[in-house]
């Protein structure tokens, strides 16, 4: 029993790193992933900040899961998350102003990162504290690892450096477009394709990770509307 339990706890931690990697497999939090990965160092800073918020908010929400009424749970979750984001913001502003400038508006925007709200809704609001903390930690590490991977590639190709240390710059001119927005989309696309190829299903996800989003219920109305218009079009074509 005890071994089974610790095994499942380990599973909660490791699933986020590879099998359910939030960025490359679940495709959550793409804005932050694309925006701050112009340098490997920024990616780690953002990853650490998000991991802290994820672990703390998962723990707090899991503790409060029987107190928060179901109807107002989303605003309650958002308030809890915003509180922790403010803590991180003030901390980074005080101890690493350079990182604060580099991350800019994306630091407060952690509050709308769908990984955090998604984990709160899908996991922390249904599970005990310890598994929730491990789930948050695993997802955070997976998020950081994916961003670090992207940040390293973009910095290496776009500036010829990794963590600011020149590596490629002796051999070739840096390809600046990798630091610009198009390069971000491109590298992300390549990594998602690669992760899909290596995964068990052997293919990349269809779209962004709506399943993990707490607003999926209202989004499904959208899909309904889409199928509805499609049916209408088919029907009109048949006429």
């Amino acid at each position: 029993m005890a071994t089974k339990k610790s095994g499942s706890l380990r599973m909660e931690f490791t699933k986020g790193i590879i099998r359910e990697n939030p960025v490359l497999r679940l495709v959550l939090g793409c804005c932050a992933t694309l925006a701050v990965t112009t340098a490997a160092g920024n990616a780690i800073g953002m990853g650490a900040a998000t991991t802290f918020v994820l672990v703390c908010s998962n723990a707090a929400i899991s503790l409060l899961r029987n107190v928060i009424p179901g109807k107002v749970r989303i605003p309650a979750f958002i308030t809890i998350i915003a509180g922790f984001v403010t803590i991180v913001q003030l901390f980074i502003k005080a101890f690493s102003p350079a990182l604060d400038t580099a991350l800019g508006v994306f630091l407060p925007l952690i509050v709308v990162n769908c990984i955090i709200l998604g984990r709160a809704e899908m996991f922390a609001s249904k599970n005990k504290v310890l598994p929730s903390i491990l789930d948050g930690l695993g997802m955070g590490v997976g998020f950081t690892a994916a961003m670090l991977c992207m940040g390293t590639i973009r910095e290496l190709l776009g500036a010829g450096t990794v963590f600011g240390i020149p590596i490629l710059s002796h051999f070739m001119e840096p390809v600046i477009i990798f630091l610009l927005p198009p390069g971000g989309f491109f590298v992300f696309g390549m990594l998602v394709a690669l992760a899909g190829k290596l995964s068990k299903e052997g293919k990349a996800p269809e779209g962004v990770g709506c399943a993990g989003c707490p607003l999926a219920a209202s989004c499904s109305k959208l899909t309904e509307k889409e199928t509805c218009t499609k049916n209408m079009e088919n029907w009109e074509a048949a006429e």
Partner: protein
């Protein structure tokens, strides 16, 4: 309002659409950009709703921050206050639309709940304050124009991309790239085309 002010406002509006496009240059609002851009009409509905909420959110949060949080030395509450104000506003807007304008609710209302956690909306309310801090002449009116321009920029990007994706559906794509990867590569190419606008607006002034 003199000619110079109008000129600046036009420049702010155009810059928000072309050179500072929220989706393609600033990576804000990527989720709806990738998720809802499959069909032209849903893309259009979503971006109209985003534009409306962006303008209303900025109209409310700007005075709230400038006249309440800053004098009270409560600037650090920005994140908490803004997200709650936006969530409440979206809820209010949905209720009002459902009660008074059912046709509009049917076409836009379903997108509204999705906008609460849209980073483009929270992003615009914070970025206009950042711009205002850097340049004192960037006031309330400029912020509103910027918010409206950002919404229109979002709409332009969504509509352009919906067109690209409709073409993609008929293409023969290598199996590994089917689904999200090819969408991202297409987004990359659309973003390259927007790089071409760099510097256009500066020349206007």
């Amino acid at each position: 309002m003199d000619g110079q002010t109008i000129k600046t406002l036009v420049a702010i509006f155009l810059a928000a659409i072309l050179t500072e496009n929220y989706v393609l240059n600033k990576f804000l609002g990527i989720c709806p950009f990738l998720g809802v851009s499959k069909k032209l009409d849903t893309a259009l509905g979503m971006s109209c709703a985003v534009t409306v909420v962006m303008v209303i959110a900025t109209a409310v949060t700007w005075p709230l921050y400038t006249y309440l949080l800053v004098p009270g030395d409560l600037g650090y509450l920005q994140t908490v206050v803004f997200i709650l104000v936006i969530a409440a506003l979206v809820q209010l807007l949905e209720t009002v639309l459902r009660k008074f304008m059912p046709p509009l609710y049917n076409s836009l209302g379903i997108y509204l709940p999705l906008i609460t956690t849209n980073c483009a909306v929270l992003g615009v309310t914070m970025l206009v304050l950042e711009k205002g801090a850097a340049d004192p002449s960037f006031g309330y009116l400029q912020s509103l124009v910027n918010a409206f321009g950002s919404g229109v920029g979002f709409l332009v990007a969504m509509v352009l991309f919906a067109g690209v994706r409709e073409r993609l559906e008929e293409c023969d794509i290598p199996e590994t790239f089917r689904g999200l990867p090819i969408t991202l590569v297409a987004a990359s190419l659309v973003a390259v085309s927007f790089l071409g606008f760099g510097g256009v607006v500066d020349r206007l002034l």
